[in-house]
């Protein structure tokens, strides 16, 4: 049963997703942040599908479980495209897109294979594989975003919005990966922790991005690495 809090979080996330897309269209920046906008738009559609599944079959049903994990995996894959797109923007001018795509594809396949071998032989293999793959993909996402954020700091990125988009993504990935890892470490925590944590974390991303698109100018920032700032 989802109470008013659950509906409020769901609605906030959905409205923020709509705000990101509308703002990008209004400012004619939809194609500039194409992967991001596609991800956000598809996230909104996935939210609607999940809401339909929840209303029809219930929160604890198999249908909701498969709808949740299949949409989440699909969004995870699009998220990889988004990360590659952000790398391209940060390394604007350097011709590394081909290498980035290759590296991201290689990582993706390696993660799927690793997750399969971890889940193989488990009693509920499909469920175990979905959870393992989700956890590992999020972890790879953390590493890729960590490297990207390091580049943003190292290159003293001036584009405030781009920097905030990257850091917000990092917060999302690290919190999600941490939650899944906690679930694997302490399965008893799962009903309490995993019921709301992913929803709250997933709401953070469109809210932070909507804020960046609406309030933050694209220029005017000079990020410095933490160690440099103290000098």
């Amino acid at each position: 049963m989802i109470g008013p809090f659950g509906y409020a979080i769901w609605l906030a996330g959905f409205l923020a997703e709509a705000a990101v897309v509308v703002c990008a269209l209004y400012r004619r920046e939809f194609t500039r942040y194409l992967a991001l906008n596609l991800y956000v738009a598809l996230n909104g559609i996935a939210d609607c599908c999940l809401y339909f599944c929840f209303q029809r079959y219930g929160f604890d049903s198999q249908q909701y479980f498969f709808a949740y994990y299949s949409t989440d995996l699909l969004l995870c894959l699009i998220m990889y495209l988004l990360i590659v797109g952000l790398y391209r923007q940060v390394f604007d001018g350097a011709n590394i897109t081909r290498y980035l795509r290759l590296a991201a594809s290689g990582l993706l396949v390696a993660t799927a294979v690793f997750s399969y071998f971890t889940a193989r032989g488990h009693e509920h293999m499909t469920q175990k594989f979905a959870v393992e793959l989700e956890q590992n993909l999020n972890f790879i996402g953390v590493i890729l975003t960590y490297l990207l954020a390091g580049s943003v700091l190292k290159m003293r990125e001036k584009r405030a919005r781009l920097a905030q988009i990257v850091f917000a993504l990092g917060i999302y990935f690290s919190a999600t990966a941490g939650t899944y890892a906690l679930r694997n470490l302490f399965p008893a925590l799962a009903p309490a922790l995993l019921k709301w944590a992913p929803v709250v974390i997933a709401t953070w991303l469109p809210v932070a991005w909507a804020y960046s698109f609406i309030r933050v100018p694209d220029e005017g920032l000079r990020m410095t690495p933490l160690a440099v700032s103290a000098q």
Partner: protein, 135 residues
């Protein structure tokens, strides 16, 4: 084993991303010039913003009334400043941590000074509008 590794790395990365996000909010105002009226209102003789001035600027900014544009940012930076205070107390014995927190707190104070400046300008504009409407 894998889950423990992911958990430890994720917590560390989460904290770093959180700090970087807060810093990006704070540093976005660094290139904005603070007007003299801010220092007059805060009764500051020196026109340089110090690390401890945040506690002086923030209540004044709140007194100027609600300004939608930076309300959320001011809250986040306030929380960041409070966290920096805790870190500076805990790491007072380590010079590099003390220097870093001092520097960051000074950035937060500058952010609050810019917020105060904007709110003063906004309040004045509102007063002028009301006066012109009354006429």
């Amino acid at each position: 084993m894998m889950a423990s590794l992911i958990c430890a790395f994720s917590v560390g990365a989460f904290l770093q991303f959180l700090v970087s996000y807060c810093r990006s909010l704070v540093l976005s105002t660094r290139q904005v010039q603070v007007s003299d009226q801010v220092f007059e209102v805060a009764h500051l003789k020196s026109h340089a913003v110090a690390a401890n001035d945040f506690e002086r600027f923030l209540p004044l900014a709140r007194l100027c009334g609600s300004y939608k544009q930076d309300r959320m940012r001011l809250r986040v930076v306030g929380a960041y400043y409070a966290a920096l205070n805790v870190i500076s107390r805990l790491g007072a014995m380590v010079p590099s941590i003390a220097t870093w927190t001092e520097h960051e707190r000074q950035h937060c104070s500058y952010f609050a000074a810019v917020a105060l400046d904007r709110r003063i300008a906004y309040s004045r504009e509102l007063c002028l509008q009301q006066a012109s409407n009354a006429l």
